[in-house]
Symmetry: C2
Amino acid sequence: MRMSKIESLPNSQLEPKINFKPPSGFDIEFLPAEKRLEQHLLDIMRRVFEQYGFTPIETPAVERLEVLQAKGNQGDNIIYSINPIVNEEDEPKDGQDSDRRGLKFDQTVPLAAYIARHLNDLSFPFARYQMDMVFRGERAKKGRYRQFRQCDIDVVGRGKLSLLYDAQIPAIIAQIFDAIFSNISDDFGAAKYLIRINNRKVLTGFFKAIAIAPDRIRTCIKVVDMLDKIGEAKVKLELQKHGISEVQSQEIISFTKITGSTEAVLAQLTQKSLELSDPSEFITGITELKEVIAGVIALGVSEDKFCIDLAIARGLEYYTGTVYETTLIGYESLGSICSGGRYEELVGIFVGEKMPGVGISIGLTRLLRQLMDAKILKPLSPSPAQVMVLNLQSELIDIYLQVSQTLRQAGINVLTGFESRPIAKQFQQADRLGIPLCVIIGEAELKSKTCNLKNLQTGTQTAIALDDLVAEISLAIKNL
Amino acid sequence: MRMSKIESLPNSQLEPKINFKPPSGFDIEFLPAEKRLEQHLLDIMRRVFEQYGFTPIETPAVERLEVLQAKGNQGDNIIYSINPIVNEEDEPKDGQDSDRRGLKFDQTVPLAAYIARHLNDLSFPFARYQMDMVFRGERAKKGRYRQFRQCDIDVVGRGKLSLLYDAQIPAIIAQIFDAIFSNISDDFGAAKYLIRINNRKVLTGFFKAIAIAPDRIRTCIKVVDMLDKIGEAKVKLELQKHGISEVQSQEIISFTKITGSTEAVLAQLTQKSLELSDPSEFITGITELKEVIAGVIALGVSEDKFCIDLAIARGLEYYTGTVYETTLIGYESLGSICSGGRYEELVGIFVGEKMPGVGISIGLTRLLRQLMDAKILKPLSPSPAQVMVLNLQSELIDIYLQVSQTLRQAGINVLTGFESRPIAKQFQQADRLGIPLCVIIGEAELKSKTCNLKNLQTGTQTAIALDDLVAEISLAIKNL
């Protein structure tokens, strides 16, 4: 019901003076139907994470700057600091560096801080999931947000951590994406995604074995990581720009192109190790990769869902072993939709202990927007209600309230019509909200102790006894 | 496994140089077992909200300052602004006021902005729930956090909104707290909470009718709101300090003390209206209150769970009709655990339309900490895993992985033991994590195609056929 008085004002007077748009880069909010889809994805992830024994944690959005910067200066140009806009005297005034605060830009440093804060209350290996918002003051551009939900799992050990945790990760990724894509029509293809696995030591060991200088190894990793984006020719050029010889860069390119079944790739790697002069780190990498792949297979992940991809390097410096990327087949331009790896020196920083870990991350806000834009996933209905109890006569409102409560007690989501509007308008409301079933009770129905159940999806309307209401509606919901 | 090398360092060298504690007021993070309890409460709220047709939304943590300040300057001394710590040139440089940003301090202004941003995509009345983090730069003290989760529902209409939405709110509150407290032993009492309902127009109408000057009405509301905290005598004094006469303040105190069944209170109010000279607003308030109470009763909320409490005023200026508070019986010092009310001029501010609404809010972070501190609720187990598959012999790892996957496919949460540790250590791990069941498979069991299922709660161990594993464990979980 609009106010006709306001409606009739000239437009210029209606114009709101306040710019109520979200700030640049913070245009992340979803419509109800989209938010319900996000919630559905969060539910899937949570269910799978918990099936593997991961426990939820949540860390504050705000940490001390020195904590956020503990991993080196990598976050410096993306960290937002927070300050009260007035009344600064209400805040601790000592102005010590220790009291400067910023918004977290990832979940890894906060995990390290969480472990340090609760070291004696946690059980190790510590397997946690975390699906909080993170904040990055990056240049805003389409598809890059300054706030987004990042869904992470990590297992962290004290001193050492079995490689089987690395093997578990692809099983978790597969289970999540199988569940997310399970409703998609078959023409999308059976294997919709591909988990690409590699091991940093395989790469660095190979680089060392072909006599790449130790101080160039990191650069090589970073350049190889760009293969997907810039292609073979440019990678070769880039390598040579960094002092890698023509022969070496050709060897690197050829190496990343070794493909085939995991068995075949592992066999070729072993063969290659025999040809190299100092393959010790390379062999360590192969051994690790073999153990991880064996575990993935033992966990029942079918071979069309994962592969060894020697071109997977991951740009981040801290990975030391297994690395993962996940590509959506046919939508490779989206980039990796789930990535991660094994690290050694990341989460023990505050404790002062060696705490190796392995984990993955899904940038959910961006991924969900991409999947909806590409029509791979479509929003749910705007309302969670499964039934709308229509309001035919205001005098019967107590009946409508009681019927609604009876249905709710059976676990059914019910919207009760409180506005006395024409029935057509009420159907329209149910339809707009995506509510599939309407319960219609007027004087006549009440006298005969029945009601009419209208299915808006099929258009059918059936009379049912009020006593059978819960059973009939439960059945109708099942058959939707 | 600690690194003995680091362990043996003198303590001074181990001492982490970085202060990894959360900043003051941001010490909000829960241990895994506590976080799982929070998740349990969030699940309950979500289920109830959705049963009443509320749809989830989430707005960004960051809004333009002019949006956050649109409701007047009430937020000014609690708003945090955000700014990049370096590279400010990466941010929009125009420096216009419109680009200044802050963290949201409640969910109401963001709801108003959300509605304005998506007006044509929403269906009205718009019923939404929102359980996001909010940020308040208040003086930090025990139990007051600078970041906390606020769980809100609101229904917003265009132009008008049925009072039945007000009636639905106590039903929702009751259903939530019934579910939250359902596991508590009976000695806590049957009615564990009390929803106290009032109507602002009953108060303001009464104040007007006893000739309190219009410019004092707001003050009277604020002072009456302090009754619970400072008591009758001080309220009287405070009223008189604001120019309310001795007689008037006595009348106000007496008025707030009208108690009894809802029927009795409504009868007394009607009687009182007959005695007053200009009771028009008072009568409007009584009529609204009557309709709301009738709805609450029709919705099946039993009378031991709610009452009319004429001392409930709510401090916030924007309430115009129904107001609610909820008290935990025996723990009144916790204050109201769920409050809200009806407002007229709150969420239409950006749209420039009249958009009446009614809603409630639960400050979950604080409430949960209080309920745990008071031992009213206790944390869940630290791990969501229901079963741990022990690692007796590393060579059998493929079996352990397969058994784990079989159980997961049946929807069971499983932790697989990856570390080869003595079995006692593994039981200890399961126990620390609160995992009730352990599956034990060694060479002998494997040969006889059986396994041992140990129930850590009862200490019993039973041999079961591997083929019956899923059925037996599902049964054991059911009987926990």
